[in-house]
Amino acid sequence: MSKIPVTYKRTDLQSDQEVKWCPGCGDYTILASVQNFMAEMGISKEKIVFVSGIGCAARFPYYMNTYGVHSIHGRAPAVATGVSVSNPDLSVWVVSGDGDALSIGGNHLIHALRKNVNIKILMFNNQIYGLTKGQYSPTSEEGKKTKSSPFGSVEMPLNPMSLAIGAEATFVARSIDMDRDLTAGILEEAKNHKGSAFVEIYQNCNVFNDKAFEQLTNKETKVANRINLVHGEKTVFGEDGHKAVVIRNGIAQIVDTKDVDESEIYVHNIHEENPSIAFSLSRLSHGPYGPTPLGVFRKVQRDTFTEEVHGQIDNAKEQKGEGELDKLIRSLGTWDVS
């Protein structure tokens, strides 16, 4: 293992501000996972910037002893884009929620992903509006009864993984608050990824949407419902691997392992350029109900916005030389009056 240049204790990454989420909120676990990960990720804390929008998750930057901006509802990817492109040396992290990222900020999210800005977006998905006290969100299931949908939501929820893949994201992954190891592994992969990373983290809101992810966390059901996506490995899951994922006519399907030839079982490849299979995997579930894929869906290389912008600046300076004001104001032609 290569030598890590900077290491911290978790407490070094903690700000002096009291954490004010509701007791039992999944955000605590994620905060701990992130702080533990960052203590050892090898980047000095003055080079880390957290940017958030509005919502429960958006308080995150206040609890990190790094640079941080708690910005406006939905705008964090845009603010973070400005930060990243202004200083490519920074490690820029966005913390967002399902309402913030997918509803009011949907436009910024897809464009940050499309442009492959070098930012890491952590979207805590609790499938509810928490800070405004319990309205349905763009990931709430159809029929969801909330204060603003007393007769049940009539809206089709978004599938965040499908959305990100469709938006040309180069890194797409899903974790769950309770699984710290999975989160740490994905954070490490995201950090090392050149470009934008989109990480959905299922997060339990014990006040307004408790047990939304129970099928994936409950001891009795989680084995049957967690499809762990591991690069280079056959995608089997369930008790003793009795279920498997196969790709037929380009579409991912769940089958009984015993019914298929072993060679037909899908071997996960995060580096596949064509996004169709990753997209199809994202369609195996529409929300955390029944078998649901977790892990890295996709990780491909593409030039980053940040690098490209600075590449053009460097080229311009090479070709024209460092800009000079006196030349600039004479560039349209001049005449003398004596």
Binding site: V79, A80, G82, V83, S86, K320, G323, R330, G333
Partner: protein, 616 residues
């Protein structure tokens, strides 16, 4: 090329308007004539006008594009009132512009375009050349299309391409009539079409054909010359407001030792700032064409947090979308310049027409108590200095600043006596690299003179801090819902802005200081107001003027200036916004001269209206 029977009359000034279909190349002809006149040494001012539609139906009034230029042998401030010369390339152009032509004005028609179809399309029932409505003008009919076709016969060009050169025939003829040499335009054509030498040759032939038509046809043997203007000595360039503003931002970044970040979403008439800045990457300029107006502003806030001179540019409707983000910059106390190139509103309104109707919006268009400085450009060359000034204030006081321009300043042009760039003041910033107390870093510990907070940039060890839109505790910057603290911070943000009044240029009086009447203006009405006051003073009418560059705060001597006069008149291209502000702030019974027709004031219009109020 002296012609025996050519007479040359010297005139002090002339206003020429070129009008034609959007595709007729009128902007180009106008610009070429302007540049040649600038190089010749005239003073000048221009007013382009184009339809909001990119390609409105050919031959219709909606598709008419025009370019007006005034050239003079004296110092002028406006593109002229009524043109003395109108070049109309088709009946629609004639119909759209004839009413402005001065009595006995020179009217040059492209007679080939006056076919029945075009005449009807323009909305004429009978051919205007035969109806008598052109009586009272000196009409010159020129077969521009025929001349072009004949001249370009020798070139192997498709028919459409041939006719595209008819604007060069018009330019050649006008160049003859006003004794302008062709060399400058020939060089320009050769340069522009350096890779298409055949096209270059064809255009030069068309240009000369127009010129030679003047030589040959007796009707054009009375020509005019506008001598050089006695402008202050210096090196000049011809500049429009959008370019001037762009260069002002680049200069400010350079003098602040920062890099420039410009976040924008394309919108008329501000897009040219984005175009111009995106050319100058060798100044370390980052231009960010965002997914929307909000992202353009938000990314600029991110850039500001990171230590850039951050600027976001737009026009009225876009400013509405940026409002929430401007409030964030205001609350987080980050420097940000917001450029608003005003156009006619509300809503999509008149995208290509000037209006000054966003003044109140600039001052008050945010939620909460959110005062910020507002600076306005008064002319195309002044846009450079206004951008510089807005940047200076933003950086020195850690605040968003709204910089107002408008379509008239943005697209109009004038000669600019170039500054000595070394004499532009260095710009201060509040960048901090070390702890500001023994116990740690306090991101909201203010400068005692400016009330600005320190600007700690990511990457600086030991100064890690968090900032956002929630109310902050003075000093620590921690989130605070404390009642007394919110009162204090609200007051502090207001003090910080009002205190800037001590750090800006004083309001100056122009014209007759002993007058009873003061004409007060802001922004692009500067040229019209100043010219009107000059004309009235020449006539012996006592009147003075003063022009605001800073709309918030006002200069600290404003009350003193206003108190010297009995009457205050405020002309504005809105329904009376500065008027309300001045009446409220200084309790003066000011009178407005207001107009929202999508057109600027003419100097004569202001002269007459000001005089009428004086004589009441």
């Amino acid at each position: 090329m002296e012609i025996e029977n050519k007479t040359v009359e010297s005139i002090p000034a002339i206003t020429i308007r070129f009008a034609g279909d959007s595709g007729d190349g009128m902007q180009l002809v106008g610009t070429r004539f302007t540049d040649t006149s600038a190089v010749f040494g005239n003073d000048l001012a221009t007013l382009p006008a184009f339809p909001a539609e990119i390609r409105a139906p050919q031959g219709t009034i909606a598709g008419v594009s025009s370019f007006q230029v005034q050239i003079a042998d004296f110092d002028i401030l406006t593109p002229g009132d009524n043109p003395d010369v109108l070049v109309a390339m088709n009946p629609a152009a004639l119909k759209a512009h004839l009413h402005d032509l001065a009595p006995n004005g020179m009217l040059i028609l492209n007679e080939d375009a006056f076919e029945e179809k075009n005449i009807t399309k323009a909305g004429y029932k009978v051919d205007p050349r035969e109806s008598g409505e052109l009586d009272g003008y000196r009409v010159f009919q020129v077969p521009m299309e025929k001349l072009t076709k004949e001249a370009l016969e020798e070139f192997d060009l498709p028919g459409r391409a041939v006719l595209r050169s008819k604007n060069m025939v018009a330019l050649g003829l006008i160049s003859w009539t006003f004794n302008r040499p062709l060399e400058d335009t020939e060089n320009w054509i050769n340069d522009k079409f350096s890779k298409l030498p055949e096209i270059a040759k064809a255009n030069i032939k068309a240009l000369k054909t127009g010129y030679n038509f003047g030589i040959t046809v007796e009707a054009f043997h009375h020509t005019y010359v506008v001598e050089k203007a006695a402008l202050p000595a210096g090196e000049y360039t011809n500049i429009n407001g959008n370019i001037g503003l762009s260069w002002g931002l680049i200069a400010a970044a350079k003098k602040a030792n920062l890099d420039l970040f410009y976040g924008s979403y394309p919108i008329t008439p501000a897009s040219d700032i984005l175009h111009e800045l995106s050319k100058h990457k060798n100044f370390n300029v980052i231009t960010f064409q965002a997914e929307d107006e909000i992202a353009a502003a938000a990314a600029s806030v991110g850039a500001s947090f990171t230590g850039k001179l951050a600027v976001t540019g737009t026009s009225g409707p876009g400013l509405a979308l940026k409002s929430e983000t401007i409030s964030l910059a205001l609350s987080a106390e980050l420097p940000l310049v917001i450029v608003n190139v005003q156009r006619g509103g509300p809503s999509t309104g008149l995208p290509t027409k000037p209006e000054q109707s966003d003044l109140m919006f600039a001052l008050y268009g945010r939620h909460g108590e959110s005062p910020l400085p507002v600076v306005a450009a008064k002319s195309p060359s002044h846009a450079f200095y206004a951008a510089y000034e807005a940047s200076r204030i933003a950086l020195k006081y850690m605040t968003p600043v709204i910089l107002l321009s408008d379509n008239y300043v943005a697209t109009g042009s004038e000669p600019w006596n170039l500054p000595n760039t070394e004499e532009l003041s260095e710009l201060e910033t509040n960048i901090i690299t070390k702890l500001n107390t023994e116990d740690g870093f306090l991101p909201f510990l203010r400068n005692v003179d400016t009330f600005a907070r320190p600007w700690a940039l990511p990457g600086t060890p030991g100064l890690e801090y968090r900032v956002g839109g929630l109310e902050k505790e003075e000093g620590t910057g921690n989130v605070s819902y404390d009642a007394a603290n919110h009162q204090y911070m609200t007051d502090m943000r207001a003090w910080k802005v009002s205190n800037i009044a001590n750090d800006i240029d004083k309001l100056e009086i122009h014209g007759d200081e002993s007058a009873d009447t003061l004409v007060l203006g802001w922004g692009s009405t500067y040229g019209g107001i100043t010219q009107a006051v000059n004309r009235l003073n020449e006539k012996g009418v006592k009147v003075a003027s003063a022009h605001f560059v800073h709309l918030n705060p006002f200069p600290d001597n404003t009350l003193e200036v206003i108190s010297k006069f009995k009457k205050v008149i405020i002309p504005e291209l809105n329904t009376g916004q500065l008027l309300k502000l001045v009446r409220e702030a200084f309790l003066v019974d000011a009178r407005g001269i207001n107009k929202v027709s999508g057109e600027p004031f003419t100097a004569q219009e202001l002269t007459d209206k000001i005089e009428a109020i004086i004589n009441e």
